[in-house]
Symmetry: C2
Subunit: 235 residues, 2 copies
């Protein structure tokens, strides 16, 4: 039983993330309040919060759902790369807390156990997702630089840009397997660099690791683009 305001906030956020509220669409307080069955007040609060989070932009009277171009997404992933790279470097330079390496190595073992079978089930993707979040969060926290986490929080919102929002294409299981396996091998290299105190190497690896997501997002763009073209030619 979360409070009404939080409920409205997460509902709207999910509707935007899921594309139910399309980019560019105008949002007024009264209709959304009525459709959610609440008063205008929590909606006002949620709109303000969503504006700060970058989901909505104030357009004269009312708000419009922000439209994210593919360039926005690739740019945000690039930002995530340099920020997580900075986190890895600073984590090494400050000296790792004693619990960091054990946690990361457990992540590596968990990932290894997933990949030995040679294929990934839906549950495996979920497990990988959890492990991946823990891995990245651990490194970001190990930097002891709260500004990094704050700056990253801004990017979490864009689809594909966040660590938490890794999408899986169910039609290409073997390609997805290779993609995640490659990412996991990068995790191994990153831990190796952290363990050896190679801060610059850790930073570079972490940047490239974000680029792995970037390449995938690019392919998604390609698919989307070709799909659009196909649609256009077929009409």
């Amino acid at each position: 039983m979360a409070s009404t305001g939080k409920q409205v906030l997460v509902t709207l956020r999910k509707q935007i993330a899921d594309g139910i509220l399309k980019g560019g669409q105008r949002l007024a307080e009264i209709p959304t309040a009525e459709s959610l069955g609440v008063s205008r007040m929590p909606v006002r609060m949620a709109f303000k919060a969503l504006e700060q989070e970058g989901f909505l932009t104030k357009a004269g009277r009312g708000y419009t759902v922000r439209e994210t171009s593919p360039e926005d997404i690739t740019g945000a992933i690039e930002v995530r790369g340099v920020l997580e790279g900075l986190a890895a470097r600073q984590a090494v330079e400050r000296g790792l807390d004693p619990n960091v390496l054990p946690t990361l190595k457990q992540c590596l073992r968990d990932g290894d156990a997933l990949f030995v079978k040679g294929h990934l089930t839906d549950d495996d993707f979920g497990s990988y997702h959890d492990m991946n979040c823990l891995f990245h969060d651990t490194i970001v926290n190990a930097s002891h630089n709260p500004a990094i986490a704050e700056a990253l929080a801004r990017n979490q919102h864009l689809p594909f840009a966040s660590v938490k929002a890794l999408a899986v294409d169910p039609n290409q299981p073997e390609r997805e397997f290779r993609r995640f396996y490659y990412a996991h091998l990068q995790h191994h290299s990153i831990v190796d660099a952290l363990e050896r105190g190679q801060s610059a190497r850790a930073e570079g690896l972490m940047r490239e690791h974000a680029n792995t997501t970037l390449n995938y997002a690019d392919e998604e763009q390609q698919n989307e683009r070709s799909r659009r073209i196909r649609r256009k030619t077929s009409s």
Copy 2:
């Protein structure tokens, strides 16, 4: 005649930035609303916005003014370095817009004109500040990556961390002159790298350029620390 809500927001923001509202201080809606002579509603809105901006943190009932440690500031400046470094690199890699280099070179000429005298007046510091903001904004915008500007906007709030908030120590004019002159020489190197298409060099220079501020903040910390020690020993 700005709207009441905005007025409350900027007032509270300024009071926090100026230290009138000290770090760790608890803020309740009713007292602040009464002290500002408005109703509770704009204060609620402002509190929510200030929480999103990182000025306030929700502490059970009500909010507390966030206290920024020196480590927070150095960390934020480090973040600014990698973000502006990324901006410089991407600006080169995407190809500079035709108006970027002329704008930057005008900044260099304006700076050169300030430093030829060998000393800086108060007006000169103001001119340098404006030129400096234009220089950095131009590079960030030249990256055509809106995620960078958004991530940077988060850091603007912390004192010393932002480009816009460069402090000048009036007691050490010649030291300040050397500091700004060094920063300006870095500007020259950065423009040189941009012009030659040396993206990695531009990135590294931009990072180091933020570090110049960082060193100053460190000295501020040292001063503050020694001041505190002096106070402690004298008591």
